[in-house]
């Protein structure tokens, strides 16, 4: 057992300050355990979100020593403990209190993205035939736990505050899951270009690096979507060929 200092951001939207707390560490402990200890013994009104404590719900997002992370999956033995461990809320969203931020913007963004629209069922009982190799791609994206860490790290939101013009990596992943679902027939490509601001992404790959689900956000979701946007809008010849000779979707990711 050792004693570790946690420097936690306290306060609300109007006033924020760092406060130091100490926690007794034990084997296998994660940052969220330490915060719970602090809550139970020193600061019962310390606000943070959590649910599963196992990296499955995406509630406990925060910045630990400046890096966007899930608090429940960050082990203390992976952090330097000679200096205080700094815990702050995500920076890309308005602060509510302590480590809790207002992420409601994300829910509004999602509502605007056109919903899943399947083709007519293949079978009389209302089911479809889908092979595993076709399911693999959307399944990668559907692993997303909506922790919004990728949104937090993306400079377009974090530094340039383009929340009105740019949906962020999480929702490119969401759009990609829909677009690459082999049953889907909806078209979201013009929205991606005109409304969702996919052009703002300059492929820095910061989002991929922080994703706790290890989704290859940039390479597998954003770049193929960007290609589709290019196909559709800047290459009328290619587009015509696509329209005449094959259904627009699917083949392009082969």
């Amino acid at each position: 057992m050792a004693t570790v200092t946690f420097r936690v951001s306290r306060g609300d939207a109007t006033k924020t300050e760092f406060k130091d707390y100490t926690a007794e560490t034990g084997e296998g402990m994660v940052v969220l355990d330490a915060l719970h200890q602090i809550q139970a013994t020193q600061a019962p009104d310390l606000a943070c979100r959590w649910n599963c404590k196992a990296g499955k719900c995406g509630s406990c997002s925060a910045e630990i020593n400046g890096v966007p992370k899930l608090m429940c999956m960050t082990r203390l033995d992976d952090l330097p403990t000679d200096a205080p461990i700094i815990v702050e809320p995500m920076q890309a969203f308005p602060k509510v209190k302590d480590l809790v931020t207002d992420v409601s913007w994300n829910y509004e963004v999602k509502k605007k993205i056109k919903k899943f629209k399947p083709r007519k069922p293949d079978n009389a009982d209302g089911t479809w035939k889908m092979m595993q190799e076709d399911a693999d791609r959307p399944q990668e994206f559907r692993k997303c736990i909506e922790c919004f860490l990728c949104q937090d790290v993306c400079h377009v939101l974090r530094d340039h505050h383009k929340h009105d013009e740019f949906i962020g990596p999480r929702f490119f992943v969401y759009t990609a899951a829909l677009e690459m679902n082999p049953l889907d027939t909806e078209d979201r490509i013009s929205d991606l270009k005109n409304r969702d601001g996919i052009g703002y992404c300059n492929i820095t790959k910061c989002c991929t690096k922080v994703c706790p689900e290890h989704i290859t956000i940039t390479d597998n979701a954003i770049i193929p979507l960007k290609e589709r946007v290019v196909d559709e809008f800047y290459d009328p010849v290619l587009k015509l060929i696509q329209l005449v000779f094959r259904p627009r979707k699917k083949e392009s990711e082969a």
């Binding site: 609300d12 034990g26 084997e27 296998g28 402990m29 994660v30 355990d33 809550q39 139970a40 019962p44 009104d45 310390l46 606000a47 943070c48 979100r49 959590w50 649910n51 599963c52 404590k53 196992a54 990296g55 499955k56 719900c57 995406g58 509630s59 999956m73 082990r75 509510v96 209190k97 302590d98 809790v100 992420v103 409601s104 829910y107 999602k110 509502k111 919903k115 899943f116 399947p118 069922p121 009982d125 209302g126 089911t127 479809w128 035939k129 889908m130 092979m131 595993q132 399911a135 959307p138 399944q139 559907r142 692993k143 736990i145 909506e146 829909l178 679902n181 889907d184």
Partner: protein, 619 residues
């Protein structure tokens, strides 16, 4: 007078897990206005954590499966004290509910011919669980969420309901605080659906999150609804045991479904030594047969690790008690024996890749939290409080409680599971009975006039809730909660005894007295200390219900194991449920009630799967 905002809807759904979302979707599709209230953010409810799969007799992997077999399996698992009508509806309607998810965008794992893949699970005769790796709950909740947000449902996130309101006999609304600012909201409605989930936070070791404080159970009980089967708390056999900070976190049964084997410290595969009579005909004779079953050999029978959860959990407790446990008080769960066996048969088999694909989130969980590689090393596992079979008593077809306009579905409602739930039957229950609750609540709302909110009810609840701020005492809410959890774990846990449970009842009285003095510091804004203080009432209520139910049932059945009555007693308890309600004096009362006779068609279905013999409970 309390200062509050009002939101009015025809139907208010409290809880946004699988059950609440499915209910809200159904109600709003039938044209009424729907409000959906939840304690966490949307999409974070417990359902998101479900791993193994959704049980439905789709017969995609084994065409011998059908609803009757699923029904018989569910009844056998529940030791025949289930509400048979619910179990029937569940088995019949689950396939349609799963297919519907696909139409709403879910992407399940596939069979080689492109259908929804199904896996083996404890107590299910055929591979029956539709799944997505080991993150099925995420797929289910996200699909419902992404479908639901386009249905015109009003969502109220991070609001905790503390009291239901009544207008005469009818339900009329709910009072909630918002976590962010601690302000009051009254949700006025003609019908209310409770879908608040379970009670796991009454115990120290649990797979459940902070949300599982028995809110729906208590909200319903406090306004006069009945609770049923409260003695039946499911302890899942495999939770993590090491390191301490992850103790209780679930290790999905899918690990055993994919070939995982349990061993004690002597290396013995102890489950082969203890197979209950009524499961013998269905259980593998040796290791070879069990593994062939895992691979889908239709001639083979299931390995003993896939016996029902109550039984496996008790075998683990026995091994540990008798000194054959693992270093940290569990037993070993390993995948290497299967991998070796399979590796010999199939040349190209790559164990590491295979497990990472089949059990990705378990791999991740052990790697990052347990510091071990499950493809190469043994895991340490032990029982963890997991699921509540008991809950609000509702009508089997409509899900309405005895309070007009108050419905319940999902884990906080009860009946379908009897004495023990089979894995995978919860997610399907959420969909089938959640849909029904939504449908009937909408019908009820259409058929009935508006209600009135009586402000004195709001005022008294608000006053009660704010009182802890004005007290000066040294009763800390976290400490009371921890003491309760320790006590329930020790005295009303997996193995129960009369004298210990009597002590628990005394302990509960003391804890109630302490809770009445609980004090909180800080203000009403996002204050976990305050939230925990208010949850105590719920945790204490369900703990009392569990304890008096367990005392009354002087036998061992399913999840209830009595050391002093280690056998089933069909004559006394084989045909009855325990029913709890608040008495006129405000005290908790309990009684036994006879289960209605099962129709012949269903008896035949049970018999067909029980070697042609009708179980004693159904005679």
């Amino acid at each position: 007078m309390a200062d509050y905002q009002t939101h009015e809807h025809d139907v208010i759904v409290i809880g946004a897990g699988g059950a609440g979302l499915r209910a809200a979707i159904e109600a709003s599709a039938s044209g009424v206005s729907v409000g959906l209230v939840c304690k966490s953010l949307l999409g974070k409810a417990h359902t998101v954590m479900a791993e193994g799969g959704i049980a439905a007799a789709l017969a995609n992997v084994d065409d011998r499966d059908n609803w009757k077999v699923h029904f018989a399996d569910t009844m056998r698992g529940g030791q025949y004290v289930n509400n048979w009508r619910m179990a029937q509806l569940h088995a019949q309607e689950a396939p349609a509910r799963v297919r519907e998810l696909e139409a709403w965008g879910a992407v399940f794992d596939r069979t080689p011919d492109g259908k929804i893949l199904q896996r083996n699970f404890g107590g299910h005769k055929y591979p029956r669980l539709a799944h997505v790796g080991d993150r099925t709950g995420l797929e289910l909740i996200r699909t419902l969420q992404d479908h639901g947000i386009h249905q015109g449902i009003s969502v109220y996130m991070e609001r905790t309901v503390v009291r239901l309101l009544k207008d005469g006999d009818r339900i009329s609304g709910a009072l909630a605080y918002d976590r962010e600012r601690g302000r009051w909201t009254v949700f006025k409605a003609k019908a209310i659906i409770l879908a608040t989930g379970g009670i796991g936070k009454a115990y120290k070791i649990t797979s459940n999150s902070w949300e599982y404080t028995g809110d729906g159970h208590t909200l319903a009980y406090d306004v006069g609804a009945e609770l049923i089967d409260m003695e039946f708390v499911q302890f899942h056999p495999t939770g993590m045991v090491w390191p301490p900070s992850v103790r209780g976190i679930l290790v999905t049964e899918g690990v055993r479904g994919e070939g995982g084997v349990l061993r004690n410290k002597e290396g013995k595969r102890f489950m082969f030594g203890d197979i209950p009579e009524n499961y013998k005909p269905q259980t593998a004779a040796d290791e070879e047969e069990g593994f062939r079953y895992v691979l889908g050999d239709k001639e083979a029978r299931r390995p003993p690790e896939l016996l029902t959860r109550d039984h496996v959990a008790r075998c683990i407790v026995r091994e540990v008690k008798e000194g054959r446990g693992s270093p940290h008080g569990g037993v070993f769960l390993e995948l290497q024996t299967f991998a070796e066996w399979f590796g010999k048969k199939s040349k190209g088999f790559n164990a590491a890749e295979h497990w990472k694909k089949k059990l990705p989130s378990m791999y991740h969980q052990f790697k990052e939290l347990g510091g071990l590689d499950l493809t190469k090393e043994s895991m340490e596992v032990g029982p963890t409080t997991h699921y509540m079979m008991g809950g609000v008593r509702v009508d089997s077809d409509s899900q309405m409680s005895r309070i007009p306009g108050l419905f319940a579905c999902g884990e906080c409602a009860a009946g379908i599971n009897g004495a023990n739930r089979l894995g995978g039957n919860s997610l399907s229950d959420l969909l089938v009975l959640g849909k029904r609750a939504g449908e009937y609540a909408a019908q009820y709302a259409k058929a009935n006039p508006a209600t009135t909110i009586h402000t004195e009810q709001v005022d008294s609840a608000a006053k009660w809730a704010l009182a802890p701020f004005d007290r000066t005492s040294d009763e800390n809410p976290f400490k009371i909660q921890a003491d309760l959890q320790d006590m329930m774990q020790d005295l009303v846990g997996i193995v129960r005894k009369e004298d210990e449970m009597q002590r628990a009842l005394e302990g509960l009285e003391k804890l109630k007295a302490r809770a009445a003095k609980v004090q909180v510091t800080g203000n009403r804004e996002y204050n976990p200390g305050w939230h925990t203080a208010l949850d105590l009432h719920n945790l204490l209520t369900v703990s009392e219900g569990i304890t008096i139910g367990a005392i009354l049932r002087k036998e061992s059945r399913g999840a209830q194991f009595r050391d002093d009555y280690p056998k089933k007693d069909n004559a006394k308890f084989g045909k009855v449920n325990s029913i709890i309600a608040k008495g006129p004096d405000g005290k908790m009362q309990i009684r036994l009630e006879e289960i209605p006779a099962m129709p012949q068609e269903l008896k035949d279905a049970v018999m067909a799967e029980a070697g042609g013999v009708l179980p004693d409970e159904l005679k």
